[in-house]
């Protein structure tokens, strides 16, 4: 499938900022099922951009801009060719061993309720794939997500206790729950072609299964991602894989407006 992405983020400040430094995780990389045809990260003001790879193997772009800055627009445009791999990943950059992804973080620390839920849905089978599919479906059945909303800092445990709103929340719950089942699991951010109006990148998960490798799960759909997904960044949680980590020097408030389009191009399968 040929997917086009256009992702505009406009940060407006109530007072001009002296400096802005951002770390952007907005660039997908080639895998066996994903070929980046073209990709561009652009900024609407004088800024210096530097590309690098972070410790997780994600492509990152450092953005440095000197003020005074009243607003800054980051525009990502690109085209990616994808193929359906039934969720099984091949050819991803893997600088860290899977066992690292058993680690808990403040955002993914499981509550007793979440751990019990994981144990409950996976009871009766020892097959790791089956257990994770059941977890994926159970989360899908339990939470109805509205189109994605900006990061509100909710932890997996908090979201599980309340009403999950975004794909970020259910993805983080999956990651947290899978780890309680001793399955290495990580958070993925990227783009999903689902025909809805979105205002944040989509989130899903990957879990490690011995003998199979990393396998993707999307608890929003209850399925494994097919060719409608553009995989961008992975991390231990939503913070670690966030599209933007920013720091600004200046007073006042920040407002973020996002305009995101994920479209299918052409008809070739």
């Amino acid at each position: 499938m040929r997917i086009a992405v256009e992702h505009r983020s406009v940060y407006r400040f109530t007072q001009p900022q002296a400096r802005i430094v951002q770390m952007l995780r907005l660039t997908p990389c080639d895998t066996q099922h994903q070929t980046v045809v073209s990709w561009m990260v652009g900024v609407d003001c004088d800024a210096r951009l530097r590309d690098a790879t972070d410790g997780y193997g994600n492509a990152v772009t450092m953005l440095y801009a000197e003020g005074p800055i009243e607003a800054i627009e980051v525009v990502v445009t690109g085209e990616v060719l994808t193929t359906d791999n039934a969720g099984v990943l091949r050819g991803t950059p893997e600088p860290l061993p899977p066992a690292l992804f058993l680690r808990s973080t403040p955002r993914t620390a499981p509550s007793a309720a979440l751990a019990a839920f994981a144990a409950d849905v996976s009871a009766g089978t020892t097959d790791p794939i089956e257990r994770l599919h059941r977890l994926n479906q159970a989360l899908h059945a339990r939470f109805r997500c509205v189109p994605d909303v900006p990061d509100n800092g909710l932890t997996a445990a908090q979201a599980f206790a309340g009403k999950a709103e975004a794909s970020r929340d259910v993805a983080q719950m999956f990651v947290s729950a899978a780890r309680t089942l001793e399955a290495p699991a990580r958070y993925v951010s990227g783009y999903h072609l689902d025909g809805t109006q979105q205002c944040a990148p989509h989130a899903w998960c990957e879990a490690w299964i011995d003998g199979l490798g990393w396998v993707a799960f999307d608890p929003v759909t209850g399925l494994s991602p097919a060719d409608g997904y553009v995989r961008v960044a992975v991390g231990l949680d939503s913070e670690g894989a966030a599209a933007v980590a920013g720091h600004r020097i200046g007073h006042g408030e920040e407002q973020l407006a996002v305009d995101l389009h994920v479209d299918r191009l052409g008809n070739e399968e």
Binding site: R19, V21, M23, M62, R103
Partner: protein, 478 residues
């Protein structure tokens, strides 16, 4: 536990009247100098420290509680041959620490070979995936190490703890020596003591040696969390004696992956940063996002190879308690030989055989939580009630992987001036080892901490510990 049976480094096991043969001259000096004269000199040293502001602030106390660390006038002495042996062991250990860090953030050979259980590294918070894959300039990770040693006999030294992050205390080593030269000049006439005052020069050489290549006259700075930090005196002392700027995070900016400091004449590029702030607060984009102390973009500059950070971020994995017990294996793995400086014997309760031994010998052992700190979650068998022992027994059986156990050591003592005259007091020792791109330098001296209370083994300054000067002799008699 008392001092009975402990080895005294000057008096041996025989007491003041029968000092160790090599220490007869020093023992004579101690015997000949009246106690009130020693007292007077000691007070004069402490008054000077207070004036200079060599104080430390106890957490939670206000400025009014700025205190000085008590200073003891009787030096601790290493003979040349003792020091020679110690240094060789220190160099070997620090080289192994550097090799371990290089491996663990790179190829992870040591995990593949099964030397250390992978989860002990991978699930350890001190292992920082954020800096995985970065090779610091010139491949040096632990530039400044403080290795905490204890001694139990003439030739028995053990490593109690490695400090590969931001070990402090070197300013005490230097200020104590200053005080001793001023107050007891006769000692420096009688003995040939190796000087320590070249430490700032050695540190600066080390810093310059790891500057990113191509920088002809590298700009070095010391990065402090600020003047409210308890070690601020040391930070300003080191910056001052090296003649480099003492900067705070707000003085630094990163642009285009290059670090600059803001001066009155504009931005000046910075090449080498001796940082005295923790990893968590280095860069809010990578570590704690809410940190106000950090420099956004610093890790990007580091990753790009444009700045050297001393010590490298992520070093905490090398001096973590859970890793400590594997140090003999780590040294063997990277150096090919046995560790010259042994660890304190440690039983890892995660291993069934060790657990069995520990459960059978609880009243004799010290049991520690692997992830505990500050003495919490610790059982000191010989002084514990049977109730406490049973509580720990249950905890050990429930979660054995969280505990290690060690024998209770008879720490050596050094004669120390007390209210009742000279008496043996327990000591430990922190020598400082510098690793540059060119070589490893061991400063001939270090920080001796002394437990001032009779019989006490606690040398921490926050709990009544003091310091002594540590002489390294250029000959074999004192």
């Amino acid at each position: 536990m008392g001092s009975r049976g402990a080895f005294d480094e000057i008096w041996g096991h025989g007491g003041p009247d029968a000092p160790r043969a090599e220490f007869s001259t020093l023992s004579q000096w101690i015997a000949d100098t009246p106690a009130d004269e020693l007292q007077r000199r000691q007070q004069s040293a402490e008054a000077a420290f207070r004036q200079l502001g060599i104080t430390f602030a106890v957490y939670g106390d206000s400025d009014a509680a700025e205190r000085i660390i008590p200073f003891d006038i009787v030096p601790r002495i290493f003979l040349q041959r003792e020091w020679q042996k110690l240094s060789e062991g220190l160099v070997q250990r620090v080289e192994a620490i550097n090799a371990f860090l290089e491996d663990i953030y790179g190829a992870r050979r040591i995990l593949d070979e099964g030397i250390i259980p992978p989860e002990l590294i991978l699930r350890n918070e001190q292992f920082r995936p954020e800096v995985a894959g970065i090779r610091p300039p010139h491949g040096v990770w632990a530039h400044i190490c403080g290795i905490d040693l204890v001694r139990t006999g003439p030739d028995e030294f053990y490593v109690l703890e490695d400090n590969a992050r931001t070990p402090s205390g070197v300013s005490y080593m230097l200020e104590n020596r200053e005080a001793m030269i001023r107050l007891c000049p006769e000692l420096f006439r009688d003995f040939r003591v190796a000087p320590v005052d070249s430490y700032p020069d050695m540190l600066l050489e080390t810093m310059r040696s790891v500057a990113p290549s191509g920088r002809a006259r590298p700009v070095c700075v010391v990065l402090t969390p600020g003047h409210f930090n308890s070690a601020y005196y040391e930070h300003s002392f080191l910056a001052d004696s090296m003649g480099v700027e003492l900067v705070e995070a707000a003085d630094l900016v990163v642009d285009d992956d290059i670090v600059y400091m803001e001066t009155i004449a504009g931005r000046v590029r910075v090449d080498v940063i001796y940082r005295r702030i923790d990893d968590d607060f280095l860069d809010p984009l990578v570590f704690k996002p809410d940190s106000l102390l950090g420099v956004p973009g610093l890790i990007a500059a580091y990753r790009a190879g444009n700045v050297a950070l001393l010590n490298a971020p992520g070093n905490g994995i090398a001096d973590d308690k859970a890793i400590y017990s594997y140090m003999p294996e780590i040294v063997r793995f990277y150096s090919g030989g046995e560790a010259r400086l042994p660890n304190v014997e440690t039983w890892r309760c995660r291993e069934p055989q060790a657990l069995k031994y520990v459960l059978d010998h609880l009243p004799e052992l010290v049991v520690k939580l692997v992830d505990g700190s500050g003495g919490y979650g610790m059982l000191v068998g010989p002084t514990a009630s049977s109730e406490q022992i049973e509580t720990f027994r249950a905890a050990l059986i429930a979660e054995p992987h969280r505990y290690i156990a060690q024998p209770t050591l008879a720490l050596s003592t050094v004669p120390t001036l007390t209210e009742k005259g000279l008496a043996p007091r327990h000591v430990d020792f922190r020598p400082f080892v510098l690793t540059g791109s060119d070589k490893v330098r061991v400063v001939p001296g270090g920080l001796t901490r002394v437990a001032l209370r009779e019989g006490s083994l606690v040398v921490n300054s926050s709990q009544g510990g003091g310091t002594k000067d540590s002489f390294v002799l250029l000959g074999d008699a004192a």
